[in-house]
């Protein structure tokens, strides 16, 4: 690595935007990479890049890496163009800039540490609470697989009100952040009702279209195109959705039918939760494995903590959930329940202040991309 490269990784915020503008201007004059993804066609619609354009384009980038290896101006060329890295650095700035409440913006600076601390505190809190609400005998008792065993340790009302409050706060924080990002990058409120754009963005996000490096897979963890990263991300994302679905079904069971958790092994919540949990083990493990082997030129090395933070937390959540399901009739149930609920609480609490937010901003950027692509360009380059 070059001395000036080390300096670049610590660019102050305004210099970072300027560096991104410099890089985008070079890319707009070159355009060789336009077949790789949405970012290049989007930047070609512009003659200059203001700060909101920079945030939009940075979040449209999926960091597949194909353009870095194809770039004739990549380091050590004197133009020193590392497109995926600069955009990754801007994304981190986006996350802080639109964080709500604003006071939490700095959570993105030492994100790995913060996620770890919140996780430890959440788990400790859950242990403390269960220890307080249930005596040692009950905590370490082996339970029959009878309905309501979990609630014998933590009263249902307490569980619902605590997690309900956390969930409501997370939804509010994520909603405010994405709304502000959406408005400040120049999009109108009406455009969110654009069904075609929403459909296109949903398809792109659900299929991870832009983690394909233009066809052969993304150049990750190195120059050789591979579909591994996309597949591990799919496992993670759909695993997460399945777990969320399991929780929703369980909520319906509880309030709609009065059936109390834990549910039988061949019930919808348990099957969904198990499949989702398996995805949330394999996906994050695969992504962590790829990340460990990643070409250091790809992405922003200073975000390793943030990226690993979410992946490790997802792993703790899924592994503790699967263990809870497997050993729920043993004396370990109390411990596993506290661990799992602590991890889930940490996952939700850090959601608006960690890597998870990439999904929101990227989805918003994809919607904007689909809206823009139907409009004629603002300038017509002569042929």
């Amino acid at each position: 690595m070059f001395a000036n490269e080390r300096v670049r990784q610590r660019l102050p915020i305004d210099d970072l935007i300027e560096e991104a503008q410099r890089v985008l201007t070079i890319c707009n004059a070159c355009r060789y990479c336009e077949g790789y993804c949405a970012v290049f066609p989007a930047l070609e619609r512009r003659l200059a890049f203001d700060e909101s354009d920079v945030h939009y384009l940075a979040n449209l980038c999926h960091n597949c890496g194909a353009c870095l290896y194809a770039c004739q101006y990549a380091p050590p060329h004197p133009f020193h163009l590392n497109f995926p890295r600069v955009l990754a650095q801007v994304r981190k700035q986006t996350y802080g800039r639109y964080a709500w409440p604003r006071a939490f913006a700095s959570a993105f600076d030492r994100n790995g540490v913060i996620v770890a601390v919140v996780t430890v505190l959440s788990v400790a809190l859950l242990f403390a609470f269960t220890a307080w609400s249930a005596d040692a005998d009950r905590f370490f008792a082996a339970h029959q697989d009878a309905q309501g065993a979990f609630y014998a340790l933590i009263p249902h009302g307490v569980m619902v009100s605590v997690f309900g409050a956390v969930f409501a706060f997370v939804v509010l924080a994520l909603g405010v952040s994405s709304w502000r990002f959406w408005r400040e990058t120049g999009a109108s409120a009406d455009s969110l009702r654009d069904a075609t754009a929403l459909g296109g963005a949903t398809y792109d996000a659900a299929s991870l279209k832009y983690l394909d490096g233009g066809g052969d897979g993304c150049t990750w963890p190195d120059e050789v195109p591979s579909v591994a990263r996309r597949n591990f991300h799919h496992l993670t994302f759909y695993g997460f959705l399945a777990c969320l679905a399991a929780t929703i079904v369980a909520t319906v069971y509880h309030y709609g039918f009065g059936w109390k958790a834990p549910y039988p092994l061949v019930s919808v919540p348990v099957i969904l939760g198990t499949l989702g949990g398996a995805g949330l083990v394999a996906g994050p493990l695969g992504l962590l494995w790829l990340r460990a082997r990643r070409d250091p030129e790809l992405g922003d090395p200073r975000q390793a903590g943030m990226d690993a933070g979410l992946l490790v937390l997802l792993l703790v959540t899924s592994v503790s959930g699967l263990l809870l399901m497997s050993f729920r009739e043993t004396r370990a149930m109390g411990t596993l329940l506290a661990l799992h609920l602590g991890a889930v609480m940490a996952l939700f609490l850090t959601m608006p202040y960690g890597k998870f937010v990439h999904a929101l901003y990227r989805f918003a950027a994809l919607i904007r991309f689909h809206i823009e692509r139907r409009r004629p360009p603002t300038h017509a380059v002569a042929e």
Binding site: I26, C30, C33, Q72, E223, A382
Partner: protein, 466 residues
């Protein structure tokens, strides 16, 4: 791979760009043990191929990567026109006729294609575009070569050739400051031109060469070309001919590549350092226009010119990488360019007065032209009258050189007596001068390099077998 002392191989490929890689892949696939020596370090490998982006390809019907039809005759006529007849029809037709087969071969070796780039739609019918451009192509070929067991050495410059009576014996390769002798049954020279050799350029062009900017890396020194010529190879072409375009004068001396081009010429006027116009800016479309302006500027004082446009033209050309100089009046713009304000104002007003009314349409050769002006501007002439005014400084940007060695239709090197060398082949820019005597046709360099690279590789492997 480490270059071991006195290494031997079947086929030694000198060079690391498209033609060299096509030759190495073809020879290795035919069973030969191939070594490829690239003088550049790995990050700058590929010669000018790292900056290319498409290949001019003949095709009789639409292909997935090409629209319409572009037959051999039209391709040949296009070449005849740009070269003014300075071309070897036999070799040119071989290069052209083989292009349809290249697309599939390239795909099989990992090259990917895409629809034409934004801003280059006029090439949709004639040129197949590489996804990610030339560096992606070069990367794919190196990966394919590695898979085939080709030994590749970087930072490995050939400093001497042992050629006896038209027969290659060995090459001396400098690597890690150590010189090593490599023997081979066959040698393929695909090491490009001499565009980065400033001394050689000065020899050919005189002091004007000092003001040229070189669009490729500093590794295109022509050392092997010189060794071959000194070793008795037949010389073809003229050392002052090459592909030379107008690029931003602020570009780096070497390796500015594609982004330094400025294509605003047809929208305004171009003046030299005396603030005088010197050529019809509206003569033709890009890329034909693009291909002549470097040479035109090379003929001007200090090899420096300025394209001047007004606010009406902003957004109508590919965005350049450097910002324009900008001023509210022509008189204020002139000193920013080091020009005499009065002289520039006179040139602009004479031009403006000569502009006839017409319907501006940048997509056709429109009827906007000047009357009674020398030189005229025959299309797209609009008055330069809307502030702010903008200027880009331009210099010649040298891409390829055409002085090279002669080859026959089997890519065999021709010696001075026109007999083919026994075991030496040449491909790519080093032997393109037969086909390109002057001028340039976008994407034909890749066609020539791929055709003769593949021929050289196949012939070399066959020679080894015999």
């Amino acid at each position: 791979m480490g270059l071991e002392d006195r290494q031997r191989c079947d086929v030694l490929v000198i060079g690391g760009g498209n033609a060299a890689l096509c030759a190495a892949l073809s020879a290795a696939e035919a069973g030969a043990h191939v070594m490829l020596v690239e003088s550049a370090p790995v990050h700058y490998r590929g010669g000018n191929s790292r900056h290319t982006r498409n290949m001019r390809t003949m095709h009789v019907g639409p292909l997935d990567v090409l629209s319409g039809e572009y037959d051999e005759e039209e391709y040949w006529q296009d070449l005849l026109k740009v070269t003014g007849g300075r071309t070897d029809e036999r070799l040119a037709r071989i290069a052209i006729a083989q292009t349809p087969g290249h697309v599939g071969w390239m795909k099989r070796h990992g090259v990917r294609f895409q629809p034409p780039l934004g801003g280059t739609l006029q090439l949709a019918r004639t040129n197949a575009f590489f996804l990610g451009g030339g560096k992606a192509l070069v990367n794919a070929y190196y990966a394919a070569a590695q898979a085939l067991g080709v030994d590749v050495a970087y930072d490995a410059e050939v400093v001497d050739l042992e050629i006896r009576d038209g027969r290659f014996v060995a090459a001396t390769v400098r690597h890690d400051n150590v010189e090593r002798r490599i023997e081979a049954s066959v040698m393929i020279a695909a090491s490009g031109g001499f565009e980065s050799n400033l001394d050689w350029l000065r020899e050919a062009w005189g002091p004007a060469a000092d003001n040229f900017l070189i669009r490729g890396t500093p590794y295109n020194t022509g050392r092997v070309l010189r060794l071959l010529l000194d070793g008795g190879a037949k010389s073809v072409g003229d050392p002052t001919q090459g592909h030379c375009v107008a690029i931003d004068a602020r570009a780096p001396k070497f390796d500015g590549g594609i982004v330094t081009r400025v294509d605003a010429v047809s929208l305004g006027i171009v003046v030299n350092t005396r603030a005088e116009r010197f050529y019809d800016e509206g003569e033709d479309f890009w890329p034909k226009r693009y291909a002549i302006w470097g040479r035109l500027i090379a003929g001007q004082p200090d090899q420096l010119a300025f394209v001047i446009i007004d606010a009406k033209s902003i957004g109508r050309f590919m965005p350049p990488v450097y910002p324009p100089m900008r001023a509210p009046s022509i008189a204020q713009l002139a000193p920013m360019l080091g020009l005499d304000a009065g002289a520039l104002e006179r040139t602009v007003s004479r031009f403006n007065a000569a502009v006839r009314p017409g319907t501006f349409d940048h997509t056709v050769l429109d009827d906007c032209c000047t009357e009674g002006l020398a030189p005229p501007k025959t299309h797209w002439a609009r008055r330069i009258d809307t502030a702010p005014f903008y200027a880009y400084p331009l210099r010649p940007g040298l891409t390829f050189t055409y002085l090279g060695v002669g080859i026959d239709e089997r890519a065999r090197l021709l010696m001075q007596d026109d007999t083919p060398a026994q075991n030496i082949y040449a491909a790519g820019e080093i032997s393109a001068g037969s086909i390109l005597g002057q001028g340039y046709l976008a994407g034909i360099g890749m066609a020539i390099g791929t055709t003769f690279g593949r021929i050289a590789g196949e012939e070399a492997a066959q020679h080894v077998r015999e």
